[in-house]
Amino acid sequence: MMAALRTPRGLITVLLLLILAVLPLLTQAFDQRYLLSIGTRIVIWAIAAISLNMILGYGGMVSFGHAMFFGIGGYAVGILAHHGIASGWIQWPVGIVAAALWAAVIGALSLRTRGLYFIMITLAFAQLVYYLGAGLEAYGGDDGLNISRSRFAGLLDLRDKASFYWLCFALLCGILWFCSRFANSRFGLVIRGAKSNDLRMTALGFPVFRYRLAAFVLSGAFGGLAGILLANEGAYISPAMMSWVKSGDLIVIVVLGGMGTLFGPLYGAIAFFALEESMTPLLDLGRKGWGEYWQIVFGPMLVLVALYAKGGIDSLFGRRHG
């Protein structure tokens, strides 16, 4: 920990984590309640981005449909709540397992393909889930559904914004810890090796498909968790949470922050929200009314990032060791 503080990356990261850890206290002190809402969403998106980073950043699997796992997690909670099952102890495992199962099915079908096929197939399956959700009139269809938050009787009241935030933050820390072990574990090395050269890995004797499928399932499960949190954050589920635009946004977050790095997804989530919030007023400074069309600037920015800045924010901190 002390060694980490000596590098700029380490220092900034620790600072960020500290701020995040006490955010509810800060927002209360400065009476900026709505910042806590943003903070919660940043943490949830960071969790989502970490789940995608596992397969995209470390594994090189460009899955353009990750938002479908949010949808499954969120809708599991929403549908159960709608039918009177409000206990989080039941809802949350169901949501996570459902997302994992779907990931297993999709993964088994998609991971046998490569390159362009894989990207488009994951996108198509995400659309399938989206249309299924939008078609379920009983659960709000296109408009979505207001739901009540999950109950954890006696333990936590998720309606309390600070409690909910700290739960999300705790989960973020847990997932970060898992990822830090995963990256250099036997499993992680196989995934990363396969990204580097999967024919080589097969020639070494690894059944690459099996490991990739397992990673895909894990990633889907964590994505489902993010969806569960998202549904509880707004007390609302809708097909929009699993639109392909959301999948695209998630890829942007992962790349922006620095693919295949531990804290990259966190930097990315923060940067993404910061950009969204700040671009509008910045453009308005140039000329009143321009701010509304900030994506005219954001779009080409993405093009430039894709062409010239693939290392993301993490690479700004200089080369890593080991």
């Binding site: 995209l56 460009v62 353009f64 079908l109 046998r112 393909t113 490569r114 390159g115 362009l116 096929y117 990207i119 488009m120 197939i121 996108l123 198509a124 399956f125 659309q127 399938l128 249309y131 299924l132 939008a134 078609g135 379920l136 009139e137 009983a138 392909w244 635009v245 695209g248 890829i251 942007v252 790349v255 069309y293 900030w294 994506q295 005219i296 954001f298 779009g299 080409p300 920015m301 993405l302 093009v303 990032v305 894709a306 062409l307 693939k310």
Partner: protein, 317 residues
């Protein structure tokens, strides 16, 4: 027997089926126009282009403006084609050219950025409200393709135009030098470089061609639905599905898959509720049917993938 008597001999259900099949052909041809350009860029330039739907959208918006200026659907539409071609060439030179040979992730990211850009550009220039293009007066009637089966003339015009373009493309690919390069490039990218061809020009042409087809599809589809922001984005994914089913790089595959998808989509929507009612309760069937008919296409894609991972006419690895 008079025509009218012969017509009344047929069951109304058959007429309905025929109508739906024609609609399926019409949808299939529109989708083929969109998918053809896409499969060409995928196959020859190995380029994931998410912004292809934006070209579809731009075709419709540009046509709306030109139709407004010229006060003629046909003139506006005809002028919109070279405009879309030009747009395609500009986009290729500005962005796509730098993406060739790069990681697919880079291409996904960059073209995603383009989608955001075009959607916002359209919103800024044409406003957030959707526009509409009216069916041209001379096509606002019905034609009797089969005795007793009146079919909207506009839709029929789409079928004729779409079929003509498909035939043109087939001739182009089979009989011209450009077509030979396209075929060669689709199966072996490196080879066309070795043939001493001006690759830059070829890619520019191919991309421009794809843009025109997409724009044409967009402007033809507009009177049937509307001209709105993001109109190309959801339909693009169906185009992806078509290419996956047909096989990347194969125009024949795109055609076959598009026609199949067109039939499945329309007929599925029309007949699925009745089909489901045979073994589900009425209420379950009516709530499940819309959801399932939307996703039929993806289920078919999944089925094809299990059987042929590289599509019906794709390169076998």
């Amino acid at each position: 027997m008079t025509r009218a008597e012969r017509a009344s001999e047929r069951e109304p259900e058959v007429d309905y089926l025929l109508l739906q099949m024609l609609n399926g052909v019409q949808l299939g041809l529109l989708m083929f126009l969109l998918a053809a350009g896409l499969t060409l860029t995928f196959g020859i330039m190995d380029l994931v282009n998410l912004a292809h739907g934006s070209l579809y959208m731009m075709g419709a918006y540009i046509a709306w403006t030109l139709i407004g200026w010229t006060d003629s659907f046909v003139l506006g539409a005809l002028l919109a084609l070279p405009a879309t071609f030009l747009l395609g060439v500009v986009v290729e030179a500005a962005v796509m050219r730098r993406l060739y040979g790069r990681d697919h992730l880079d291409q996904v990211l960059a073209t995603f950025g383009l989608i955001l850009f075009f959607n916002e550009l359209v919103r800024a220039v044409w406003g957030p409200a959707g526009k509409s293009i009216a069916v041209p007066a001379f096509l606002a009637r019905t034609v009797e393709i089969l005795p007793g089966v009146p079919y909207p003339a506009y839709r029929f015009a789409i079928i004729v135009t779409g079929a003509a373009v498909a035939a043109l493309l087939a001739w182009l690919v089979a009989r011209t030098r450009l077509g030979m390069l396209i075929r060669a490039g689709a199966s072996n990218r490196r080879m066309i470089g070795a043939l001493g061809v001006n690759i830059e020009l070829l890619f520019s042409l191919v991309f421009g061609l794809g843009a025109v087809f997409a724009g044409l599809a967009g402007l033809m589809a507009a009177p049937l639905s509307s001209v709105k922001i993001g109109m190309g984005d959801d339909i693009l994914i169906v185009a992806f599905v078509i290419i996956v089913i047909g096989g990347i790089g194969s125009i024949k595959g795109a055609f076959v898959a598009a026609m199949v998808v067109g039939q499945i989509d329309i007929i599925g929507r029309a007949f699925l509720p009745d089909l489901l009612k045979t073994f589900l309760s009425n209420s379950a069937a009516s709530s499940a049917a819309p959801a399932i008919s939307q996703v039929l296409v993806y289920i078919v894609m999944a089925g094809v993938l299990v059987w042929r991972p590289t599509g019906l006419f794709g390169q076998r690895t």
